[in-house]
């Protein structure tokens, strides 16, 4: 009944509109295959609100802009091209001056300093539409943390424009390498994501490899031969404090934290056979996850902690498998040609990154957790050991070009395959691990 009334009303209302028989449908046009090119941004030197802040006015912008342009999603329009510069943070920019130089976004900021504390404020403007992108932000921090203030700004801007969290206020722990291949010296080191503040964490007498960050803190787990055998160690990178994970027989290696930081998954080799174990950091009592005469190693938790992806040669060569974190049936997920190794689950869960070997070359690739949609992103003599930026959009890994004198370099690539580049680090390194975002 109701329906009939509604239908009648609909007909009555539509009738007059239906009269002009020549009314055209809107013209439909589809536009596809968009450009992928850096977005031009303008970032004038910040306004110094008092004399003491003046020295930071351009450094803050430069560090922030360097973060943004390093993604290859943005490029800075050279300041020399700017027609005007904002004199006040709260003034609406003269957009015509920024449209004239084809700026898409304009970042205007101010900085002041008092008693060693910097106060930074900025606004992000969308130039074509002449509107503000989100609210202005104010950041306060110690003067010595000025680079972090810049990274935080870059994170906020990146997030507003791309819809994903940024990854600029982060650090990389890695293995700094030096010396010839047969007398290689390896030291744990930590560096800001943009290459600043390099600091060594170990001395170089002990062989150390594969540091990995706790996703919830600034704690690192790594492998060291300090006791004469490969053993897993924990270190607080801020205090330098170290401890062996456990004192039990066997070689332990390939450690990684669980997503909540409460457990470690790793390999234990006894009698030449390598299986996967979980060690809760509270009890430190090993829980066996796999039990097979083949090699099971390079385990990594899924972001929800319910599954573990690892590599095994049970089929005859290295392939990737997923198993429930408490043990159970392992399901093979890699079926392409070649060998698959070092699986690492993306923090956002949608992809698993891996190292692939095929035809004498090494590749970094990604696939979905069910093994579908495999894509290789890089290739070289040796590309190995991917690690995810905390937003799951960028991978870092290391590359060795081969040769008696070659030293590895840290590289990064976006999961789209774009922006393959050397990490901004001027020393050789391997085994990078990305920290979570700092607080």
């Amino acid at each position: 009944m109701l329906r009939m009334i509604a239908a009648a009303m609909l007909a009555a209302l539509l009738l007059p509109g239906a009269v002009p028989a020549q009314q055209a449908e809107p013209l439909r046009i589809t536009i596809d295959n968009p450009n992928i090119e850096p977005m031009p941004i303008a970032a004038p030197v910040f306004i110094a609100r008092n004399a003491k802040a003046a020295e930071y006015a351009s450094d803050l912008v430069d560090v922030m802009v360097n973060d943004l342009t390093g993604t290859a999603l943005f490029r800075l329009i050279p300041r020399a091209a700017y027609i005007s510069s904002p004199a006040r943070l709260d003034a609406t920019p003269k957009f015509e001056n920024w449209r004239a130089i084809n700026a898409d976004k304009l970042i205007v900021g101010s900085v002041s300093m008092r008693r060693g504390k910097l106060t930074v404020r900025f606004r992000l403007w969308d130039v074509p539409s002449g509107t503000q992108d989100g609210d202005g932000l104010q950041l306060v921090g110690d003067r010595k943390d000025w680079r972090r203030l810049a990274h935080k700004m870059a994170d906020a801007i990146y997030s507003r424009i791309t819809g994903e969290t940024g990854y600029f206020d982060t650090r990389i722990v890695f293995v700094a390498e030096s010396g010839p291949k047969n007398r290689r010296v390896k030291r744990l080191a930590i560096v800001d994501q943009d290459g600043a503040n390099l600091r060594y964490l170990t001395g170089g007498n002990d062989l150390v490899v594969t540091p990995r960050f706790d996703p919830t803190s600034q704690r690192v787990i790594y492998l060291s031969w300090a006791t004469g055998s490969p053993r897993v160690f924990l270190m607080n990178v801020d205090t330098g404090q170290r401890e062996e994970l456990e004192h039990q027989p066997g070689m332990t290696f390939a450690p990684r934290f669980s997503p909540d930081g409460s457990k470690v998954v790793m390999s234990l080799s006894i009698g030449g056979n390598t299986d996967i174990y979980v060690v809760p950091l509270g009890t430190r009592q090993r829980i066996q996850v796999t039990d097979s005469p083949s090699i099971e190693t390079a385990p990594c938790f899924s972001p929800d902690g319910t599954q573990i992806v690892f590599e095994s040669d049970r089929s005859g060569s290295q392939q990737l498998y997923v198993i429930p974190a408490g043990g159970g049936e392992a399901r093979r997920i890699s079926f392409g040609q070649g060998r698959y190794a070092t699986p690492v689950w993306s923090p956002r869960g949608d992809l698993i990154a891996f190292t692939k070997q095929l035809g004498g070359r090494f590749y970094i690739g990604v696939m979905r957790p069910d093994g579908s949609d495999e894509r290789l992103l890089t290739a070289s003599y040796l590309d190995e050991g991917p690690t995810w930026a905390p937003n799951g959009r960028v991978l870092m890994f290391f590359r060795d070009t081969g040769g008696a004198a070659s030293l590895p370099a840290l590289m990064s690539v976006e999961i789209t395959g774009r922006n393959l580049r050397r990490a901004p680090l001027d020393i050789p390194g391997s085994d990078p691990a990305w920290s979570p975002l700092l607080d």
């Binding site: 509109g17 020549q22 009314q23 055209a24 439909r28 046009i29 589809t30 536009i31 596809d32 450009n35 992928i36 090119e37 977005m39 609100r49 008092n50 999603l73 020399a80 091209a81 700017y82 027609i83 004199a87 006040r88 943070l89 709260d90 003034a91 609406t92 920019p93 957009f95 015509e96 084809n102 300093m113 106060t119 969308d126 074509p128 002449g130 509107t131 609210d135 202005g136 932000l137 104010q138 921090g141 943390d145 791309t162 819809g163 994903e164 030096s178 010296v185 600091r199 060594y200 007498n205 205090t239 495999e374 894509r375 890089t378 290739a379 070009t401 004198a405 030293l407 395959g417 050789p428």
Partner: protein, 389 residues
């Protein structure tokens, strides 16, 4: 009970129908199926080409890496615990000026002054903003953060009423000005370098050009009340002082600067065709390209291309176009109220349209077909070939 329900339903129906009748074409916002494009294989040659610029690993070690003599002591032992301190982050008000310059002939719908919604919480004076002697600062809110929804965004950019005071720049006969890729160096510095507070803008027909990279000078964007450095402007309170109305400009002012007065007389040269008029022949593919190509040229999807759902961020935009080829209305069509990443996708698409229009690059089909193109729905489908192999 049932009766009141029925009445309510009927009233709702009427409202919906009225909305439909008032010109909006009703469409359900059904979710589009997510489509995943096939992974494109590229040839080894292409791959090598793509990576040929890949940086080489360093060929030699750095001297600074020479291993230290001792174990243990030579670590860069943190002098103090190096725990990174928390940084305080706060929002500052979403103030905006009322007289923000706007796009050529495009006017945003009047919006409430958002700053008024914010209980005035003038920020503490500049130099006492940071609590002293506290190293770990938790975020402190200066004035309530403004919820995302309450922030007005100019999705509904509505055109100035009907007709412009001048003929819109139709470029169909002359080659469209080459859209500058960046700050295209001009032969000479663009006269816009003139200080902005000398209110007479220089009449300049050509699209604004950036001065050569060695700019003559950069002019501070000062309004007529220069701020002393130490003075404090509450961030979350009132919008900046109104810019004084500019003196009248020369008649040939640049398109960006000429905003037709709302009450401008209708353009008699281009009478609005009646709706009963003949439709004319169908719009050809080539004629569609005259609209699509300039827009695609400015459609840059880089910032969203890495999202897991990037390919599904298809947005449709409805344009209403005047007979003389100006966009008088630009609305999101599907999704109707884009949010989140659809919002960002919409922004990128709108940007492309606005720049193409500003450059005078859009070429609409001939007048005789106006009934067919007075309303255009543009579908922006970001699917593209992926990099990788």
């Amino acid at each position: 009970m049932r009766r009141s329900l029925a009445i309510s339903a009927a009233l709702h129906m009427i409202i919906i129908l009225l909305a439909m009748f008032s010109g909006q074409i009703f469409r359900s916002d059904e979710a589009r199926a997510i489509q995943i494009s096939e992974v494109e294989l590229i040839s080894p040659a292409e791959f090598d080409a793509a990576f040929s610029t890949a940086p080489e690993a360093p060929k030699s070690e750095l001297p600074s890496l020479s291993p230290p003599e001792l174990d243990g002591a030579e670590i860069d032992a943190p002098d103090a615990p190096q725990t990174p301190e928390k940084l305080a982050i706060e929002r500052i008000g979403a103030d905006r000026a009322e007289d923000a310059p706007r796009l050529d002939a495009v006017r945003e719908e009047p919006r409430p002054d958002i700053a008024l919604d914010v209980p005035a919480a003038p920020e503490a004076p500049v130099d006492s903003a940071a609590p002293e002697g506290v190293s770990l600062i938790t975020p402190r809110v200066v004035g309530p953060a403004i919820p995302e929804q309450r922030r007005q965004r100019p999705d509904a950019t509505t055109l100035a009423p009907e007709s412009p005071a001048r003929p819109a720049p139709r470029i169909s006969t002359t080659p469209a000005p080459k859209p500058p890729t960046d700050a295209t160096p001009a032969e000479e510095a663009s006269p816009e370098v003139a200080p902005s507070d000398t209110a007479t803008e220089v009449a300049e027909e050509k699209p604004a050009e950036a001065p050569p990279e060695a700019a003559t000078e950069i002019v501070p964007e000062v309004e007529n009340e220069p701020e002393t450095i130490e003075s404090v402007t509450p961030l979350a309170s009132a919008p900046p002082p109104k810019r004084p109305r500019r003196p009248t400009r020369t008649a040939e002012a640049r398109p960006e600067e000429t905003r037709p007065a709302p009450a401008a007389s209708p353009n008699s040269a281009q009478p609005r065709p009646s709706t009963n008029r003949q439709l004319g022949p169908p719009v050809t593919r080539q004629e569609k390209e005259g609209i699509a190509l300039p827009i695609r040229k400015h459609w840059n999807f880089a910032t969203l291309a890495g999202l897991p759902d990037a390919d599904s961020l298809v947005v449709e935009i409805r344009l209403k176009v005047t007979p003389d080829g100006r966009i008088r209305d630009l609305q999101p069509y599907r999704p109707r109220n884009p949010e989140g990443n659809f919002r960002r996708a919409f922004d990128l698409a709108r940007r492309a349209i606005l720049i193409a229009e500003r450059n005078g690059a859009l070429k609409f089909p001939p007048q005789e077909k106006y009934e067919r193109w007075k309303e255009i729905i543009l579908t922006f489908d970001p699917k593209r070939n992926r990099v990788g192999f």
